[in-house]
Amino acid sequence: MKKLINKTFSGIIEIARGMFTIGKHAFRPAITLEYPEKKQVFNSRIRGRLALTTNKDGELNCIGCMSCTKVCPCGDLIQIETSKGENNKPVINKFTIDIGRCIFCGNCTQVCPKDAIIMTEEYELADYSRESLVFDIDKLKISPEKSDQRLKQRERDN
């Protein structure tokens, strides 16, 4: 009998202690972020959508060395077709990335010798069809100013 009373009392005290801790939270600021209206601020290491950088003349930095296709874990996700132009300079005819299958591991950006392929902050990539998620050069290319700023930011942070 005595044991039961003891148990009941200690139980009531412990539950009251727990409820007090929970009650304290009513007076604390909210910890959540109201997402679509407010967005998180990222640093330059964020691994979002892939993009192709351009030089000052607006041409791709890519030289068609195919290193990114060799380290990509998803097989034929990156597809590049090149041909030789004047002065033996490689010309990129086709550069497509299937963003729907990309796992955003960052291997391709790491292996690239010319910083031609980088990752941007963009992460809202939902779309209505799989075909529209296969990005070609026009969709992947970013402007010279933007790529310059992005590369400088990356250099500063690393």
Partner: protein
């Protein structure tokens, strides 16, 4: 009477595969007699992704991001196990600074994994507020990982011979601030949970795992430490630099669900201490200081504290496209939050591994479940299964 017949007869029911408290997709075929569980057969394989087979058609570096998905709650540990195995085949030496970075990130990962376990375990028992508290701290840890690696879950941060990047500026200060804050947060959970009479009634003396049974089934990690078996790979230091850090291994005696909870809470507190200690004695100090000193030093001495081998991020840089370790085989063991993860790699001298085999701790934990819940009430299933800390993708791989 029809009703009496149904009560006396044995009944076979399915729990899962899409049961909310099976932590993934586990199917349990149960034979019930009334409310008492007579027999259980776990059926696994619903989350099988063929991680071992995938390795055989990919190069070592192509497989590196996939390793994180073996156990998505403790990605750093899986990556570490794979990296240690390949490093010992290829004979790559890891600099001390890289080992310290690995240690700090791994311990943070252990805390975040245990926090998620606390949240889901209490949710299984019907308590919802610990979920929000646990996720509040987990969010801060995950934010730190995001600043360091660029992603919140699949980090792809370790590489053969070290790590990919140094800490960003101010990261260590943020980490120390979090370490100072965290013990108070653990006190909060304990105020709500540890002495709560409902929690004690549901977990004490429930699902007792005796040391003999645990050893027979190959249970590792916090589950076996709760039964009083001192098995922690960090203490004899079979990997990383744990021998330079003072810490204790926490044990409990009874091996019931309550003890498994206590051991995990104690482990989180210990991890905070390990991180604080490691940040204090990391070779090279903070990244800002290291950058400054490196520019001014230029001594070229191997043992220099700022430009020597030990303050580098990777020892010998491996070419990602043509990385080719010599033929051989190696096994590595890492003390993950759920137990010992071991990775066995066979190389035949080409760019692709001949075989990669994973041994994951949750696989053993699922096997011991039928023994623990035999002749118990159905309501004891969740306190027992939840306390074992099973992550199903890790079971199926």
């Amino acid at each position: 009477m029809v009703l009496e017949n149904t009560i006396q007869k044995e009944m076979i029911i399915n729990v899962g595969p899409q049961h909310p408290s099976t932590h993934g997709v586990l199917r349990l075929i149960m034979t019930l007699e009334g409310e008492v569980i007579k027999d259980t057969k776990p059926v696994i394989g619903y989350l099988h992704r063929g991680k071992e087979k995938l390795a055989e058609s990919r190069t070592y570096f192509q497989y590196l991001p996939m390793v994180d998905r073996v156990d998505y709650l403790s990605s750093f540990f899986c990556a570490a196990a794979y990296c240690y195995a390949v490093e010992s085949i290829a004979g790559l030496k890891v600099p001390k600074r890289a080992e310290y970075i690995r240690l700090i990130t791994m311990e943070f990962n252990r805390i975040s994994s245990h926090l998620l376990w606390v949240a889901s375990f209490l949710l299984d028992l019907g308590a919802t507020s610990p979920l929000f508290y646990a996720f509040r701290e987990r969010e801060e840890i995950v934010n730190l990982f995001e600043q360091l690696t660029g992603q919140r879950m699949m980090y792809n941060f370790y590489t053969f011979g070290g790590v990919k990047q140094d800490f960003p500026e101010g990261w260590l200060t943020k980490a120390l601030d979090l370490c100072k804050k965290m013990p108070k947060m653990f006190d909060e959970y304990e105020a709500i949970i540890t002495k709560n009479p409902i929690f004690i009634e549901r977990t004490k003396n429930i699902g007792v795992l005796t040391p003999e049974l645990g050893i027979d089934y190959g249970i590792t990690g916090a589950n076996i430490r709760a039964s009083g078996v001192n098995l922690d790979l960090r203490k004899p230091c079979s990997y990383s630099v744990y021998d330079e850090i003072n810490f204790n291994v926490h044990l409990a005696e009874n091996g019931d669900s309550y003890d498994r909870y206590l051991v995990r809470i104690a482990e989180m507190r210990e991890s905070v201490k390990i991180i604080e200690h490691a940040i204090k004695q990391i070779p090279g100090g903070t990244p800002e200081k290291l950058k400054m000193k490196k520019v001014n030093c230029n001594c070229g001495n191997e043992n220099c504290g700022y430009c020597g081998f030990d303050s580098q991020l990777t020892g010998k840089k491996a070419n990602m496209v043509v990385f080719k370790p010599p033929a051989g085989e190696a096994i590595s063991m890492v003390e993950a939050p759920r137990g010992i993860i071991s990775c066995y790699v066979i190389s035949d001298g080409t760019t692709k591994p001949y075989r990669v085999k994973w041994r994951t701790p949750s696989f053993s934990s699922v096997q011991v479940l039928p023994e623990l819940i035999k002749n118990r009430n159905y309501s004891d299933l969740m306190p027992i299964f939840g306390s074992l800390d099973v992550v199903l993708p890790e079971v199926d791989r």
